[in-house]
Symmetry: C2
Subunit: 326 residues, 2 copies
């Protein structure tokens, strides 16, 4: 069923049907309007959005590229993004990159072929600025800091400050030997959090001890292994974890070793993913407004798409949420 067929059935032209469908019907008589609407309803006609997109040169679709939706941090961003998109009449295509540059580049290509109106890129790694510069589609980066000539939007959080506050909190709580478990500091994100940790130590007259720093991945497994490693090689009474997943792994390791949390070792995480409040003990963490980051990303993106306005960078606040783990 096409608009043309509907037009025939109603004895009008396809232009008339088009106008009615799109609400541009101020100059259409109520009689034909009703007739056409009736036929559309009766025939169960559904407009071909692909044809419309070809003509209009917009798809009302955005792409979102992230490492992994199964990660609670990213699934919350995805949900915030999809909700905001839905409100604005956009759909979202989901792409999981596993932080692999090759997959990111492939998806950027595919999304451009699909003529998405904009792209949201979410990850923890840096790099691929080349393929970005080549890409003319509006883009906003979330939780990610890539240098690029391209005018991209950015939704960020002050990671250094957050890590500083976390470490400082542990110190105020009396910790003297604070471990740091996070992802490889080759990524800017992790590097910023490491800087915050080190700065807090220095500002409080504590010294930086390489033995207390364990860098691997943002996973539960890494948190577990890192904690076991620190326990083995040094003394700790507090651990700042690069994210909540790591903190969950750390807590697991500590429990296995029968070390009391927070009494003997205090734990603080970063993110405040949805599960963190249900962990035992409930996780003290630096809360990022994750859902909101997804929302703001698409709102910024859509304003770039529709109004061509460019608000280049939006910095969101983190807050420390104190729960039972420290």
């Amino acid at each position: 069923m096409t608009i043309k067929r509907i037009a025939e059935l109603a004895n009008v032209s396809s232009a008339t049907v088009s106008k009615i469908i799109n609400g541009k019907d101020k100059h259409i008589s109520e009689a034909t309007r009703q007739k056409v609407l009736g036929i559309i309803e009766r025939e169960g006609y559904i407009p071909n959005g692909i044809a419309k997109s070809l003509k209009m040169k917009r798809t009302k679709t955005i792409g979102i590229i992230m490492p992994d939706v199964m990660n609670l941090f990213f699934s919350e961003i995805a949900r915030g993004a999809e909700d905001a998109a839905e409100r604005k009449g956009y759909s979202v295509i989901l792409c999981n990159s596993d932080n692999k540059q090759s997959k990111e580049e492939k998806y950027i290509q595919i999304l451009q072929e699909k003529m998405v109106d904009g792209i949201i890129l979410t990850a923890s790694e840096s790099s691929i600025s080349k393929s970005l510069d080549r890409c003319n589609t509006p883009m906003v980066l979330v939780d990610r800091d890539i240098a690029s000539d391209k005018k991209v939007g950015r939704i960020v959080v002050n990671n250094e400050e957050g890590a500083y506050n976390a470490t400082n909190f542990l110190i105020k709580k009396g910790c003297k030997n604070i471990g740091f478990i996070s992802a490889d500091s080759k990524t800017k994100l992790s590097a910023a959090r490491l800087r915050g940790y080190e700065k807090a130590l220095i500002d409080n007259g504590l010294k930086i001890d390489k033995e207390k720093i364990f860098l691997q991945n943002y996973t539960i497994e890494s948190g577990y292994q890192g904690t076991m490693a620190l326990l083995m090689q040094t003394e700790i009474d507090g651990v700042y974890c690069g994210n909540d997943l790591i903190a969950i792994g750390a807590i697991k390791a500590l429990k296995e070793k029968n070390i009391k949390i927070p009494k003997e070792v205090k734990i603080i995480g970063f993110d405040d993913i949805s599960i963190s409040q249900y962990i035992d003990p409930p996780l003290t963490t630096i809360k990022q407004p994750i859902y909101q980051m997804g929302e703001e990303a698409v709102e910024m993106l859509i304003s770039m798409i529709e109004e061509k306005s460019i608000k280049m960078t939006k910095v969101l606040e983190t807050i420390l949420v104190e729960r039972g783990s420290s």
Copy 2:
């Protein structure tokens, strides 16, 4: 940049360029092939997939409608689905319905307008069979049982059997007073799990006690409240939870009441979402092959799309994973 422009630059026709792009170039001379490819590369030409889709009447895109990606169960399905789709050259549009019929219907409409080649519907509720019957797009239902005249694919698990096994396991472990906390049994899914629970009780000569049954939602909060309610109104030494989220809430409640798990009360869940092994104590649960369900759903869907073959229903196996909570 269009195919036509590339053709001009290469002094060939757009038909020739099209053939080269699509590998239908057996009759194209290597010279022109190289020339055209060179120009495409140099100009950074990206084919317009929308125009292609209009012509070809397929978009290589599928839609997936689920209650909420932030729920670990659904995010794992989404990941399995996206991975499988990516392998087959398809993209996926993500839609969160919050289990609301109105949103599901809206998304079904939008996905049809976007001319997706197929739709995956994942949820725990029943109903909306009307809008399904009206929809001609190939569809597969995951974890969901809706009667429909339409030829839809189905990926399911034997929920009654799973719940039976779970309850039976608790009984074999010595439990005599087993609670049941799950979602409202108006949904077929929850009803099946309730039947399994009741059947296991009866088969073991235990009797069904309404006081031990708490029906609300598939959430941590419901698990917490349900456990508190059961503790108040009856005696329990084991709880079968309708899913792992409920089990997590139940564990939280038990810990607050200083009740030892599994010594005083044993807990078993359903799903085996990714976090369950990291809970304290690690959760014993009926494992569904969640990721695989997402994969199989898109594989079935794509075979329906491409080969028009219809494998109507695929039943996947659950297995009991014993961990520390019972």
